[in-house]
């Protein structure tokens, strides 16, 4: 929005009542709602995001969860754009403040010339500060009035939604439809109350205090497909379903829980089952039981739970049982920061097992990618009969994005296990081929039934301590990952294809890194970025890309480590031994701002 002139002049409050104002067209707006988690501002944000999605607009949201149990201050930020939206925005064009503390804590985030919409029943901002446009509305009072006091504070959020709808000339019918969908099912009165609150906000003569109303330019992007709007955990869960995963087990933990809650409710519809186990040790063991029985299964957690799964995942490496392990990362170590974001579980994913226990590690770049990475994970797990980690994080988990609806008839996989009788002479662990297990229920026509095992074994699965076989089997288990590495495409470079600096990222930093590259190029720098979805093994042939740049700067949300390098940077330096690989990290538990990358990694 900074690029567009609209709203850019610093206006002072006006009471000139001009009933209807000619709307200004804008391409992009960052709206931050600041209140308490009880106020349901998430709901408002979600509505705006859904609406944007429906209007083929790009949208990205950002929210914080209070770390206290009983709720407390929380924000929901939504960025809507007619063009590409890569990050939730470094500064707000619009700040909606419900309380004094909301104002105090977030006014810093409002850009000069931005609009502060505040509840004048709750507090008075410092009107002397001429940098902002002030729009005071007695939100609390008007809501109570509209709802007849019954609902107390409840409804303020929907009232604000109405306000925003009128300010941004949003499609109120579409919004009301969304409200009905959302509250439908509950008894009618709930829906009516919501609609009433919305109407009240929508009807409020905001024009009296605002010099402009705004309207988003129609999005230029012509996509043949409709958009779906959801958060990263939803995308991941539905991606698993599309990937043909029908069974799984887990144990609750923030921010993984909602994945398991969705799968627990959804799998039965597909004839499958997700089990809540007594702990993470049981859940990974159940998942392995499902996989062994022929149904590629999923388990998942956040750091603390993933640590508990380490031993069983090692069994999957040794017994060569396919398995998907989701790690929705949060701040560590130990219990750490359960509600903050961090990318500090990469080393554990790659090296967490005892012995040489290779596994595959993937990371999702954004909400849409949460869907597709799940399909990729399942493909690899089945083809190479291996455990596959999917790394997400709490920012992806809670972030809402709109993206092109996937073409299900194309991507969806039929997972039926192969129980066809096996011809004589099949070996459970052939040295020269990739292991293909015969699930129980499969007839072995030579009458020899296989045992899968975590002990070192010969080709028939019998335990052995033979020196030769241990070397051979260790190599067998390693080679399939080398084969996978050769099969993986080198990811495309965003921005400059060669030149000064190549930024390398993984996971949820995709948006801010890409946007940083765009902005840096706008100011004339030759910068590109490479985003890795396959972290272990790394795709073969990255050297070629590295050679085209003077500096390689790895950007990640984890600690610089004992020797000054973040976790991916460490892996890349070990792999390529190239001293030009540098590292830019942070550990404040927050997502990257574009500015931080511009200043920190491209200075």
């Amino acid at each position: 929005m900074s690029s567009s002139p609209v709203l850019s002049e610093s206006a002072t409050p006006t009471s000139a009542g001009r009933a209807d104002l000619r709307p200004e067209h804008i391409r992009d707006a960052v709206i931050r709602l600041a209140g308490n988690s009880q106020d349901g501002i998430q709901t408002v944000g979600a509505f705006l995001a859904r609406l944007a999605g429906r209007s083929a607009q790009e949208v990205m949201t950002y929210m914080t969860i209070p770390s206290t149990i009983s709720g407390g201050p929380s924000i929901f930020q939504v960025r809507i754009g007619s063009g590409e939206v890569l990050s939730a925005g470094d500064e707000a064009d619009f700040l909606v403040a419900f309380y004094q503390h909301s104002y105090d804590d977030h006014i810093y985030f409002l850009r000069e010339g931005g609009v502060l919409l505040y509840d004048s029943d709750q507090f008075q901002p410092n009107l002397e500060d001429k940098r902002f446009v002030y729009v005071g509305v007695p939100i609390t009072g008007l809501t109570v009035e509209a709802l007849g006091g019954t609902a107390k504070d409840k409804g303020k959020n929907i009232f604000v939604l109405g306000l925003l709808a009128s300010i941004f000339r949003l499609n109120s019918d579409k919004l009301k439809a969304l409200i009905r969908e959302r509250f439908g099912g509950k008894d009618e009165s709930v829906v009516n109350t919501a609609i009433t609150a919305f109407q009240a906000g929508y009807a409020y003569p905001v024009g009296n205090v605002l010099t402009h109303l705004y309207e988003f330019e129609p999005s230029p992007r012509k996509s043949e497909r409709a958009q779906v709007t959801m958060d990263g955990n939803q995308a991941l869960a539905y991606g698993l379903i599309a990937a043909g995963v029908r069974y799984g087990a887990g144990y609750p933990i923030t921010p993984w829980s909602s994945v398991m809650e969705i799968l627990r409710s959804e799998f039965p519809k597909y004839g499958g089952l997700f089990v809540q186990a007594e702990d993470e040790l049981a859940s990974v063991s159940l998942a392995l039981g499902f996989s062994y029985s022929g149904w590629l299964a999923v388990t998942g957690s956040a750091g603390p739970g993933i640590s508990l799964k380490a031993e069983a995942i090692g069994w999957a490496s040794m017994a060569e049982i396919p398995l998907i392990v989701v790690n929705v990362q949060r701040g560590g170590p130990s219990t750490g920061l359960p509600t903050n974001v961090e990318q500090s579980d990469l080393h554990q994913a790659v090296f967490g097992g005892h012995g040489d226990s290779p596994r595959v590690v993937l990371a999702a770049a954004n909400v849409e990618d949460c869907f597709y990475i799940a399909i990729e994970a399942a493909r690899i797990a089945r083809k190479y009969s291996t455990p596959v980690f999917i790394l997400s994080d709490s920012s992806l988990a809670t972030r809402i994005e709109a993206f092109d609806e996937p073409n299900l008839s194309e991507v969806m996989v039929d997972p039926k296990p192969d129980l066809s009788p096996r011809p004589p002479g099949v070996k459970p662990y052939p040295l020269e081929q990739i292991t293909r297990h015969a699930p129980p229920g499969t007839r072995m026509l030579d009458g020899k039934y296989p045992v899968v095992t975590g002990l070192e074994h010969d080709e028939m699965g019998h335990p052995t301590a033979s020196a030769r076989l241990h070397s051979a089997m260790t190599a067998k288990r390693r080679k399939k990952y080398q084969q996978l590495a050769d099969e993986l495409p080198v990811p495309p470079v965003h921005g400059a294809q060669e030149g000064e600096t190549l930024l390398i990222g993984w996971g949820s930093t995709y948006g801010p890194i890409s946007e940083a590259v765009n902005q840096a190029r706008n100011r004339g720098e030759s910068v590109g970025s490479l985003h890795l979805r396959h972290l272990h093994p790394l795709p073969t042939g990255l050297e070629a890309v590295f050679d085209r740049f003077k500096r390689i700067m790895v950007v990640e949300m984890n600690d610089q480590g004992l020797y000054g390098y973040g976790q991916l940077a460490t892996l890349l330096r070990a792999r390529f031994c190239s001293p030009k690989i540098e590292s830019f990290t942070k550990t404040d538990g927050l997502t990257f701002r574009v500015r931080e990358i511009l200043e920190g990694a491209l200075k």
Partner: protein
């Protein structure tokens, strides 16, 4: 798509399932280890019951006893220490047509695996679990196990065990297991009976089988072995023939009575302590599957997911 589609058509020609057909590697156990007899009884049961060969699954954790799957020619898995109950539960839940047999030791099942045992029991997953209890850690060579009696001298209790041992039968009854029995590896016929009743039970069925570790705890169970001058006291179950004698007999559906019998001093009683019908997790989850699929009048996977996405537009 419904997982049950995955059940293979039982192929027509089936030669009889002989002992030879279910025998695999020669056991690596010490000569005269009690576990041989358990294996022999299991062979007998398989021969007798003639299950479809491919539907037999033999699973175990880690321990001498847990080497079991290598010695049975059936689909099997040798898992990690103490986690075989959840592994087995998943197989039972995803593949109801399979016969899931689980074997392991007292350390595997009652020490590191003790929690999974309780939760498997309360969830009443349909499987049969034989705990081969030798009162010691065999494979790791003579450390104290959760069932080692007070005073037993092990490498980790050189002056004799001091911790109050676990009573597996009480533990299982309190946890909500729906079939709880006890037998002795020196009593092959009794073992066979118990294994058959356990597999016929629809639910989580567990048998504690006293199986002597010749190497590290010889003679541990002589007190329960008539051939060694001991007594093999069997639980008399009610015949419901309202005969006066029947009064005194044990009602296997009476939890408190079962708990009291479990309190009998070593070598304790043998037979079925507790057996009740409670819906299995298999059945309850399957019911949920069916009702959800009915609601969607059995739409295809693509249709279901498409509908979900439509709601997200």
């Amino acid at each position: 798509m419904n997982p049950l589609d995955a059940v293979p058509p039982v192929a027509p020609e089936r030669e009889k399932l002989t002992k030879k057909a279910v025998t695999a590697d020669h056991p690596t156990w010490c000569p005269a280890c009690g576990d041989f007899a358990v294996l022999a009884s299991f062979y007998k049961v398989l021969e007798k019951r003639q299950l479809p060969h491919e539907n037999i699954v033999t699973l175990a954790g880690i321990g001498c006893s847990s080497r079991f799957p290598y010695f049975v020619n059936s689909h099997g898995a040798h898992f990690i220490h103490g986690r075989s109950v959840p592994l087995a539960s998943a197989i039972s839940l995803a593949r109801p047509e399979l016969h899931v047999f689980l074997f392991g030791g007292d350390g595997d099942g009652l020490s590191i695996g003790g929690n999974h045992l309780d939760h498997g029991a309360r969830k009443n997953v349909n499987l049969t679990y034989v705990i081969m209890d030798n009162f010691v850690y065999g494979l790791t060579k003579k450390q104290t196990s959760p069932t080692s009696p007070i005073g037993y001298k092990s490498k980790t209790d050189p002056t004799g065990v001091i911790d109050h041992p676990v009573n597996p039968i009480k533990k299982l009854i309190a946890a909500g297991a729906t079939f709880v029995a006890r037998t002795h590896a020196a009593q092959v016929n009794h073992m066979i009976q118990m294994i058959e009743r356990a597999m016929d039970h629809n639910g989580f069925s567990v048998i504690e089988c006293l199986s002597e570790c010749i190497e590290f705890f010889p003679g541990a169970f002589d007190a329960g072995n008539p051939r060694k001058g001991g007594e093999f006291k069997v639980i008399e179950e009610k015949k419901w023939d309202d005969s006066p004698e029947d009064e005194a007999r044990h009602d296997v559906t009476d939890e408190i009575a079962a708990y009291r019998l479990a309190d009998t001093a070593f070598p304790g009683l043998f037979g079925v302590f507790y057996e009740i019908d409670r819906p299995t997790k298999n059945a309850l989850e399957q019911k949920w599957v069916e009702s959800s699929r009915a609601k969607l009048n059995h739409a295809s996977d693509v249709e279901i997911l498409q509908k979900t996405f439509d709601r997200m537009k």
